[in-house]
Amino acid sequence: MNSSGSGQKAIEAPLMDIRNISLRFGGVVALEGVSFDIAEGEIRAIIGPNGAGKSSMLNVINGFYTPQLGEIWYEGRRRGSIKPHNIARQGIARTFQNIALFEGMSALDNILCGRVTLVRSGFWKQLLWWGPAEREETEHRERVEQIIDFLEIQAIRKTPVGQLPYGLQKRVELGRALAAEPKLLLLDEPMAGMNNEEKEDMCRFVLDVGDELGTTIVLIEHDMGVVMDLADRVVVMDHGELIADGVPQEIMNNQDVIDAYLGVAH
């Protein structure tokens, strides 16, 4: 449908429809009437200057923040008030701008934690009867090994993540999100603070996740080159408002966007 970067994929019915979201923290307006949709299978980038409200948007999507106004429609249904841990159970996984890993655990255990929502034997049943649960564990471990292979982090499987360099931590965090086999993957600046080589690897992983698993991805990213390469469509935010929405080519040439990035008063 669009010709940029990876985008031979057809954009289908929206997986998520974000309608008129407003979010305030006391006097600070983090989001003001933001509406956009996320189509099934696309890579949707959110860009904008610092403090634009990008991370806040992600936090609204995964339930950490509750907006004062607006609606979120997910898989064709309006989402009522819902607790963050239940949002994970609806197939939404994420990474954080300031890496939030379980520092004391190995990379492997971190990624295994990503599968909490997929544990079938149920919390209470597990407590009372661990035979089947242990069998299930083997299955989970196999899936996790596949993810470890995919992300090329075999060498650091057993390393406590607190000891890993930043770039690898970001990769493990992606692995943990992937382990949940999410429908919607939210990535908050997955390439920030990486060198070029690390960035290229990360880009490849993100593209592969979209192509091979069909996962829908929302990506916050500052590096315009990366955005142009990866995104099917781009939302641009500034001061809590949405100022542009379109395919990368349009966005590049949009005067409002250029102004926002050049800091022109408006």
């Binding site: 950490f64 994970a88 890993l101 597990q126 661990w130």
Partner: protein
């Protein structure tokens, strides 16, 4: 030979005190593992559980003094005695209720806060619970009798007397406490070994936000863990109470769990047990051998000094997870 047997008797004595220390320490470890917080209130929970058990069993009217002061009821007893089993089950119910209240009223509001804030909250909880227990059940020393075996084990005495010519005194209650503790530790270890559960607890201890994002309900985990800690507190309270009566000094004895944890490591169940036993036996033996030379009463400080010396060589304790600091 006699000397040796006497030494054995002292050690055995210490071993059983150690078991009780270990039981209390176990409660601390459980909560530490799942929230990274030292639950200062664990000792008071032991006391509170024991008070509640005795109160329920004897048919004490809760808050009797309060009712009397306000309404002039002067009713202190319902006039019934509950069977021990019923009282125990009801006490367990109270401990679960306590866990739910702690989660609702305290922990829920402290998500994403620094562990020190949670620690302060548990100090508050300890003082509240101590006062609450006092108000609810009264501060008199109570006898706890739920039909546990008591007295000196005659079998062991006559056996050792016949074999070695010296009858070793072992308290039957102590033996029983040892068995219960062993069973409890076994059950808890198997339970926590359960890989998914173990990971979930560590995840919650490590990072609240990340735990939520992967779909862990912090609240469910907390209620579960505090209930379990309440259960362990009840077991410890029953054993201590049966041995020395239920009284407010119980919460002070419980602080002996601190050196036990330093020795064993804050995150290890095995550590709590081994630490408890080492300190129990250590303080009795030390007092027996050195007490007369130094001038007695070494039991009050020995555990702390031992823990301190130990800390210098192994800060993470015997079995604790190694603390790795990135520099």
């Amino acid at each position: 030979m006699q000397q040796l047997l006497y030494l054995t008797e002292v050690s055995l004595n210490g071993l059983t005190t150690g078991v009780l220390y270990a039981l209390v320490a176990l409660g601390y470890v459980l909560i530490f593992k799942s929230s990274g917080v030292f639950n200062y209130a664990q000792g008071v929970m032991v006391l509170f559980a024991a008070l509640t058990l005795v109160g329920l069993q004897r048919g004490q009217v809760p808050f009797a003094h309060l009712w009397t002061a306000v309404f002039g009821t002067h009713t202190y007893l319902f006039g019934w005695n509950l069977p021990a089993v019923v009282a125990i089950v009801m006490t367990l119910g109270v401990m679960v209720l306590l866990a739910i209240l702690v989660e609702r009223l305290v922990l829920k509001h402290l998500i994403n806060q620094h562990p020190i804030v949670l620690f302060m909250a548990t100090i508050g909880l300890a003082y509240f619970l101590e006062g609450f227990g006092d108000l609810m059940w009264g501060s008199d020393v109570k006898r706890l009798d739920i039909g546990l075996p008591v007295g000196i084990s005659e079998t062991i005495e006559s056996f050792t007397a016949a074999t070695f010519g010296y009858g070793v005194f072992v308290d039957r209650l102590d033996l029983f406490a040892g068995l219960v503790a062993a069973a409890l530790v076994f059950a808890l270890t198997v339970w926590l070994k359960h890989s998914q559960l173990g990971r979930t607890l560590r995840a919650v201890a490590d990072d609240h936000q990340a735990a939520l994002s992967v779909g862990i309900s912090l609240r469910l985990v907390w209620v579960l863990v505090w209930s379990t800690a309440g259960f362990v507190a009840l077991v410890a309270g029953v054993m201590w109470g049966a041995k020395s009566g239920v009284q407010f000094s119980l919460s002070l004895i419980a602080l002996k769990a601190l050196p036990v944890l330093m020795l064993g490591g804050f995150t290890s169940i095995r550590g709590a047990i081994v630490g408890g036993l080492i300190i129990g036996v250590g303080e009795k033996l030390f007092d027996f051998l050195m007490g007369p030379i130094i001038g007695g009463a070494t039991e009050s400080w020995f555990a702390y000094v031992l823990a301190l010396v130990f800390l210098m060589f192994r800060p993470q304790g015997l079995y604790g997870e190694k603390i790795i600091e990135r520099v």
